[in-house]
Symmetry: C2
Subunit: 364 residues, 2 copies
């Protein structure tokens, strides 16, 4: 049997730096835990545009379809801000999501005990926070047609289309219910059914799936604006939140910021099972490419490392190895090790990207 | 010259209770400040549906078009949750916004000193917060066509259309720049130009209006997901935020919740000037109809009272009288008076809706 395969797309900005630490971790699992991966690498985002005039080549796209999991760093940067919409770095990422059909974006928002003080929220509001946002990732206003900027009379008009089919809603709802069963058994679904018909259908279908298949899970519904409020007011009331692509974009970033440490948060984007039973999968940190600190060895590699832990859990069924890696991260934090983004007002001296990688490897 | 006219639409839930206090304040201004209004009243929302089978009658709509300002309480309640989309309470409100063409929704998020402890955010993050969100209110995905739930093959599909014309963007951008000039001269515009063409056009037009007419104002752009993060992390970095209808719905609610006291926040929705020079205008509290506490005398009337203060300022050019009313509210809070929603964990005994109204009248 051949080794499981990984495609690494480090991308732009701090992507390559944080991914370098992940590669060392991958090597450690090969050398010490008998988990050897066939690793290939390629370009995505601005660097791919620089090399090939497109943020994702067809060859890289094809490779992504073949491997067992894709690990992505980050894309984008000011250098590419004035590029045409169709070749912006983000389009590389969106193409991967769409063509791999990665419909369930899992975004855990977890507050690490050692870091609860970093939140702009009061400690008791966020300490121990552990919620999972399941964001639909391949449909909605991100991909709906018609779209574009057209001329009507002598005016330009910007158009996008929010579009959800029943089956698109049902499959991501199932992902949320399945996850809830392995957590605290609660799902809150968010939309704007009071204003948008796509939200009316969303609520209906989630309710139908719940009735038919998941009555053991507790289901509630909330308007997305109220959801933003409740996430800010009392986030611990939630277990799993399921929502559409655009609301999920805002709400998962909001939830991430509640924890106060964006540099810590991983994500998984999962599709349907492949022939080998593994889901199509892409793992990436929630943080962006942070061009302001790129190349300075200041970036926090933990979000990217924890994304690899999610890969171990969701792609390779190695929950125990994932937990080992997560524990190593927690231990390092408990020891007081901090990258620059995690320095409180008390100061102290931050450890470098590599320094953090070293420490995590030592704990492993 | 005839008196300025007001149409009061108290609506559902706590709407009538909080509006009762506003009526006493209106009377006070008539008796003591020579500001007499011609006041008429009618139904909107669920109560209008109960009486007439529609959340807003044509007669009430026509009246709203005639008066100098509309004061609205709140709409909605669980009783109406199963109504058809087209007659839900919210449609009454949306029809008012659309037909009066109230394109600029002004949502101040202000943290009252006396209440800074109520926020779920750390005191230093929110104390002194004073931002103004300008939300486009008559277009975007709230009103775009095509929309609905259709059958394709054997699947239902939910569709909404995000649609913005150049002039729709330009006029709300102007509202934001004008407001910024009277505040701290900074506007941050939020969209998802990295994903949506309507966002690309939004950014372009805001930039053009800025270049042509408001170069003295500082303009920045942010993706809406980053905006949600930054509002949570460090809200005081903002002065005026301008954004579309849907992003504005979420972001203004998020901003409102930062202050910790939703019962305090007013809003104004303004359109183009009428023949008499006054803008078409509707004023309403940010909070909803709170059916769980309706009819118990527990509701906080301050948001609704401060909405009337906004009416004094924006419709009747009585900034000094508005400030008088706002000061009365601040004084009452400084005295420690609190409705039930403002009771901290220390307890104490809350004052009723009428009690709060009495106290504010006494300060006036
Ligand atoms: C980079 C951008 C296209 C992307 C999105 O909007 O989905 C990002 O914000 C995210 O949440 O992964
Ligand atoms: C009641 C509802 C239709 C409305 C909206 O979505 O605009 C409300 O949330 C608001 O923000 O005023």
């Amino acid at each position: 049997m051949s080794n499981p395969s990984l495609l690494i797309l480090a991308g732009d900005g701090i992507g390559p730096e944080v991914m370098a630490e992940v590669k060392r971790i991958i090597d450690w699992f090969g050398a010490n835990r008998g988990l050897t991966f066939d690793v290939s690498e390629n370009l995505v985002g601005g660097c791919a545009y620089d090399a090939h005039g497109t943020p994702l080549t067809d060859a890289t796209m094809a490779k992504a379809q073949e491997v067992d999991a894709v690990l992505l760093g980050a894309v984008g940067g000011p250098k590419y801000d004035s590029l045409d919409f169709g070749v912006k770095p983000e389009r590389g990422l969106l193409r991967l999501r769409k063509e791999m059909d990665l419909y369930a974006n899992l975004r855990p928002a977890q507050c690490f005990d050692a870091l609860a003080d970093f939140s702009s929220l009061k400690k008791d509001v966020v300490a121990g926070l552990d919620i999972m946002i399941v964001r639909e990732l391949t449909s909605g206003v991100y991909f709906g047609e018609p779209r574009g900027i057209v001329k009507e009379g002598n005016e330009r008009v910007g158009i996008n289309t929010q579009r959800y089919t029943e089956s698109e809603i049902a499959r991501v709802a199932r992902s949320a219910f399945e996850l809830a069963r392995r957590r605290n058994n609660k799902v809150c679904s968010m939309e704007k059914a009071n204003v948008m018909e796509s939200g009316v259908l969303w609520r209906e279908v989630v309710t139908e799936v719940h009735q038919a298949e998941y009555q053991d899970v507790q289901l509630s519904h909330m308007y997305a604006d109220a959801g933003a409020m409740q996430l800010t007011r009392a986030p611990k009331q939630f277990d799993v939140i399921v929502t559409d692509n655009l609301f999920g974009d805002l709400l998962s970033d909001l939830a991430a910021m509640l924890t106060g440490s964006l540099g810590m948060l991983p994500s998984a984007s999962l599709g349907a099972p492949m022939a080998n039973g593994r889901p199509k999968a892409l793992y990436e940190p929630v943080h962006g490419s942070a061009p302001d600190i790129a190349g300075q060895g200041k970036a926090n590699p933990i979000a990217c490392i924890l994304s690899f832990a999610m890969a171990l859990r969701y792609s390779f069924d190695k929950g125990d190895e994932a937990a080992r890696l997560e524990r190593a991260v927690e231990d390092v934090l408990a020891d007081g090790l901090r990258t620059a983004d995690l320095m409180g007002p008390e100061g102290g001296s931050p450890v470098s990207t590599t320094g953090m990688g070293d420490a995590i490897l030592a704990k492993l």
